[in-house]
Symmetry: C2
Subunit: 353 residues, 2 copies
Amino acid sequence: MTGLKNDRLLRALRRQPVDVTPVWVMRQAGRYLPEYRSTREKCGSFMSLCQNPQAACEVTLQPLERFDLDAAILFSDILTIPDAMGLGLYFVEGEGPRFRKVVSTPGDIEALPVVNTLKDLTYVTDAVRVIRRELNGRVPLIGFAGSPWTLATYIIEGGPSREFAQTKALVYDQPEVLALLLEKLTASVIDYLNAQIAAGVQAVQIFDTWGGVLSASAYLKFSLAYMQRIVSALNTGPDGDPVPVILFTKGGGTWLEQMAESGCHALGLDWSQDIAQARRRVGDRVALQGNLDPAVLRSSPRVIAEEVDLILERFGSGSGHVFNLGHGITPDIAPDNVAALVDAVHTQSVKYH
Amino acid sequence: MTGLKNDRLLRALRRQPVDVTPVWVMRQAGRYLPEYRSTREKCGSFMSLCQNPQAACEVTLQPLERFDLDAAILFSDILTIPDAMGLGLYFVEGEGPRFRKVVSTPGDIEALPVVNTLKDLTYVTDAVRVIRRELNGRVPLIGFAGSPWTLATYIIEGGPSREFAQTKALVYDQPEVLALLLEKLTASVIDYLNAQIAAGVQAVQIFDTWGGVLSASAYLKFSLAYMQRIVSALNTGPDGDPVPVILFTKGGGTWLEQMAESGCHALGLDWSQDIAQARRRVGDRVALQGNLDPAVLRSSPRVIAEEVDLILERFGSGSGHVFNLGHGITPDIAPDNVAALVDAVHTQSVKYH
């Protein structure tokens, strides 16, 4: 399989036998690592780090130097797409992302271009190539994008939100205007992920961070339907095999059956879900990824091992499980606790394989 | 049934036949009503309003004067219990509740008293009696309390939180310390709800606003187990019948089966859940309450009627449905849209009964 020395992740995503449960950590290249903070400081801003393929490669590999992780994930941000649409992404310390350009009228949405990755986001595909070269087959590289709905919330609200009042106003009062934006984002994400695949990513994850704020019917119509179109439009990898796709809707626990019908290979679970129940519900249609509460990493190696065991035991025997957190790791975590997590997953999962 | 002119709510909670689906609105006595803002202004602070039985009665009845609601809910706050424990509750405009006293050590928790409602919270039971007298059997009066877990998060974090880092540190590192706090809160909530029942509330709701931030296993252990004890310790009403209990865990959609086994009469659903799927999962064990996205109320009467119809149709024929929002109404809603909601529920639900 493309000469990988460690192909556990791809095998688990395809529900093929593995020796131990593979593990990676959402936001594993991040602020909890002093070496990350150092590289980021050298680059100036978060966006300068994303836009510098050598630096992006450096931080992508940093967690692999420390921990026995089974995957690397491209260092980037889901908001590269709105940035490439010309919205002027920047970050306010402690407050998160903002855009220089406001998108508030139907005309603003009509004026937005579809992203052409090879023209507008070459720093991403360049980073993929550099990282693949540096990884040299050690573990697979995961690419990613935000879901169209999640990207739309940032664009319409102009940054993070709690109530998503303006985006929901479009859901209920101007669904055709929202659909136009979601169409452009869907075309952009397809182009973006196919460019990442062509450049060398070996699996992709779609982050639907805010799908869970919708009602069940609105979720199916305004988030899942577009993710489904993305899944079915992705190209195969250079070996001709489909590239595994992980769908992760935070707060999407009651919609797993419908998500599993999307054609994706795996579902990411947040930590509120019992993985045993989730496995019963999706059957053998998809693999499952998750789902430790990131808060457990603030505890001790002993408690981390216990909580890892609980999830491994709830998933049970057989392949189709990729261990991960239920959401991104927070900046306050001690790196040694991540080592304890990775070690616990590998040693304690042997008996289930 | 205790001489009620409108007993739809109690009948639906007991899954007995009704003519139309009953409806009430979480936080129906609240800031979206100009008459509420006026009463509150007269009282000075939010807590002065809660602590004045006449004023609490006045705002409890205000929404019933405007809308054809099928229930009144006691005007109060879930944090009356920590306040009565001596923590000094106050509200910071735009930031929510705060406590004057910090609870951070096991010793702080040991020092907390169990609430004696008839001594510490007579303003609540007084308000219940005044409201019952003024309601004069028009609709039933709902009492309520926060869940022990939810109250514990406010006490430990000192106010609202996003990550609940300190409370989760207790979950994973000092579960016995957390258990001590939850025991005291459980005893307090039992005393409080039984005092409300003795004073005249005809149904109760337990608000587990933050149960959904826990992992599945932690939820069962640190939230549901205590709510279950509360449910089984509640006294019957003056007629000797059990007082219906509604459990509402926001974000609890994947745990409905376990919640339905708690002995409660109904589950409150947030808006992320498909009520048809929820009904299939809980069968005829409990009634369901919910679950319109509060954001729909920012839209037009036409859209409100459509979204109401969708939920009524998804629930389907038969009793056991109490219409409500999936969370509290927000202050920016036009009162006329609440009228449209209530009207839509009553007129459109006829065909399902």
